[in-house]
């Protein structure tokens, strides 16, 4: 509508600002330009790429592509009018239910931003629940995640202390952890698998060793298709990055923050949650519930400031789990386990390489020690059109710093040919390295 009136007369002259940016492009121009830019990026799916860890390339079933592009779900807002949003709400309720099955937690919320901010929120939640401010986190952990955790506890003057890992096994250094546990500790955070790729059996009876502190477990949800669920070994809070459940990798976003808690913690939990209820005729219905925890009602007393979350990613992850079923998820998790172990075995044969570096079991990723600085190997691999694993040198800084450790990950999209090529190139390295 434009009826020629000036609706902007109340903006002072000295505050006027016009847009000094180029003219708009036609749709065909836009597609051409962006296609050219897209071509400049080397995709990792279906290629020789061994990056992974928390973010993994995934084969996305065609049916899932279809579901993720459904316009109604994509263009809805938060379900403030539940009567016209039952589909969205049921989809989120099913995501919560499926994740609760995987993690064996009582309640999973309708999503947080990502795994890293999920850790921040989990620390805040632990503090609210225990009225304590001290936390124990693994020293061997993604550095950015450490920084995010520090930022989130800064708001309430929380304190983070780090515990070490076993030199050989790669798991939790239990004696170090025990020394640091005290009555003052609100929460102990462990990862399974951890940043070194390791699955640590000691975590199964961690709960008994940490006194009154809450046990916070970081997981790769896909691994839970085969691994014991944290709810079964006493986790109070489960967090993790949900991207491995069928989301495009998208240069690291959008992401999906998983948060699961015990029933006891539900009223202190951050983020939206969908609950089952009834419509006027007693029919089954869903709505966002326990809203009194949220910012629009509680303002500065809210459990978190989160409003927009990653709802659509949760819908997609739910649909992925539904398409795969327990059997499909188990098949995939089993396939990744097998491929990772076979690759480690082959890499270990190359001169000067140790794979896996740590003795404890692993899932789809494992640490490798290389005979020369890993950056040189990575460069050499790139020349051969192979994207190597992720350097772990940021985890081994300070005294005894190491620059020759990397985390190699497998996924189902890597062609068989790529494994043999990687191993062949690694065998060549002994000749030129040293």
């Amino acid at each position: 509508m434009s009826n020629g009136s000036d609706f902007f007369y109340d903006i002072p002259e000295e505050a006027r600002h016009s847009l000094n940016i180029p003219k708009g492009l036609s749709e065909d121009e836009v597609l051409r330009i962006f296609s050219e830019k897209a071509e400049m990026n080397t995709t990792v799916s279906g290629k020789a790429s061994f990056l992974g860890g928390e973010f993994q390339p995934r084969y996305i079933p065609a049916a899932l592509r279809h579901i993720m592009s459904m316009g109604e779900l994509l263009t809805a807002y938060t379900s403030y009018q539940p009567e016209v949003s039952q589909g969205m709400l049921q989809g989120l309720f099913e995501y919560q239910s499926l994740m609760a099955e995987l993690t064996q937690m009582d309640v999973v919320n309708a999503s947080l931003y990502d795994g890293a901010t999920g850790l921040g929120e989990a620390l805040r939640l632990s503090s609210r629940a225990t009225r304590k401010k001290r936390f124990l986190l693994p020293e061997a952990m993604c550095p950015a995640k450490k920084q995010i955790a520090e930022l989130y506890v800064k708001g309430f003057d929380g304190e983070i202390e780090f515990y070490g890992h076993e030199i050989e096994g790669g798991g939790v250094n239990i004696s170090d952890l025990r020394n640091k546990v005290s009555e003052e500790v609100a929460g102990v955070y462990v990862e399974m698998p951890n940043a070194l790729g390791v699955l640590d059996e000691q975590i199964f009876d961690m709960k008994e060793q940490i006194g009154g502190a809450l046990l916070l477990v970081g997981v790769d949800p896909l691994s839970l298709a085969i691994l014991r669920a944290p709810g079964d070994y006493g986790a109070d809070i489960v967090i993790g990055e949900g991207q491995p459940l069928g989301l495009p990798i998208g240069y690291g976003g959008p992401t999906l923050g998983l948060l699961g808690v015990t029933k006891k913690l539900v009223r202190k939990m951050p983020g939206r949650v969908v609950g089952a209820t009834e419509g006027t005729a007693g029919e089954r219905a869903f709505c966002i519930t326990l809203q009194t925890r949220e910012q629009h009602i509680r303002r500065e007393k809210a459990t978190s400031n989160i409003c927009s979350n990653e709802a659509h990613c949760a819908i997609v992850a739910g649909a992925y789990m539904a398409l795969q079923g327990a059997s499909g998820l188990k098949r995939l998790a089993g396939l990744l386990t097998e491929r990772a172990h076979r690759l480690a075995e082959e890499m270990n044969k190359a001169e000067g390489f140790k794979a896996p570096l740590f003795s404890r079991p692993f899932f789809n990723s494992f640490a490798v020690e290389t005979p020369i600085p890993y950056s040189r190997i990575e460069e050499h691999l790139l020349k051969n059109k192979i994207q190597g694993g992720q350097s772990l040198s940021p985890l081994f800084q300070g005294e005894g710093a190491k620059d020759n450790i990397a985390l190699f990950s497998v996924n189902e999209t890597i062609p068989d040919e790529a494994y043999t090529r990687l191993v062949r190139v690694l065998h060549e390295i002994e000749g030129w390295g040293g």
Binding site: Q291, T292, I297
Partner: protein, 128 residues
């Protein structure tokens, strides 16, 4: 709408009632308050043994879209809480002065009671 007022209680300006026996005071929210808050869904009960001064936050009552802080009408120690409310917050809506009591406190400064309103003053305050 006429709100019920229990003659045997004392009241605060902020719609809590206090019923004193000896040095113990049973505390809840008034019929007027429960109407205003609508269908209650949850009461965040304090821990037994909690010490609180008059006017400090004691507990929270919640409906679907609101949460109301209930401040301590008097100073003292929480010695009993109505556990029945944990699963049935609506009891407060149904019977605010009897089954819907929330906590019992041991009085610390009995003379504080003088500052509370009596039933007729409270009735006047809420305009009835």
């Amino acid at each position: 709408m006429m709100s019920k007022i229990d003659e045997s209680c004392k009241y605060t300006e902020t719609d809590e009632w206090v019923n004193v026996t000896g040095n113990k005071a049973r505390i809840g929210i008034t019929d007027y308050a429960q109407h205003k808050l609508n269908d209650l869904t949850y009461v965040d009960l304090p821990e037994i043994g909690m010490k609180v001064s008059k006017g400090e936050p004691l507990l929270v009552v919640e409906s679907v879209k609101s949460a109301a802080d209930i401040n301590a009408p008097i100073s003292g120690t929480v010695i009993e809480v109505n556990e029945e409310l944990e699963d049935n917050a609506e009891t407060i809506n149904k019977d605010p002065y009897a089954k819907g009591w929330i906590v019992v406190m041991e009085l610390e400064a009995p003379d504080e009671l003088d500052s509370l309103l009596d039933a007729s003053a409270y009735a006047k305050k809420i305009g009835e």
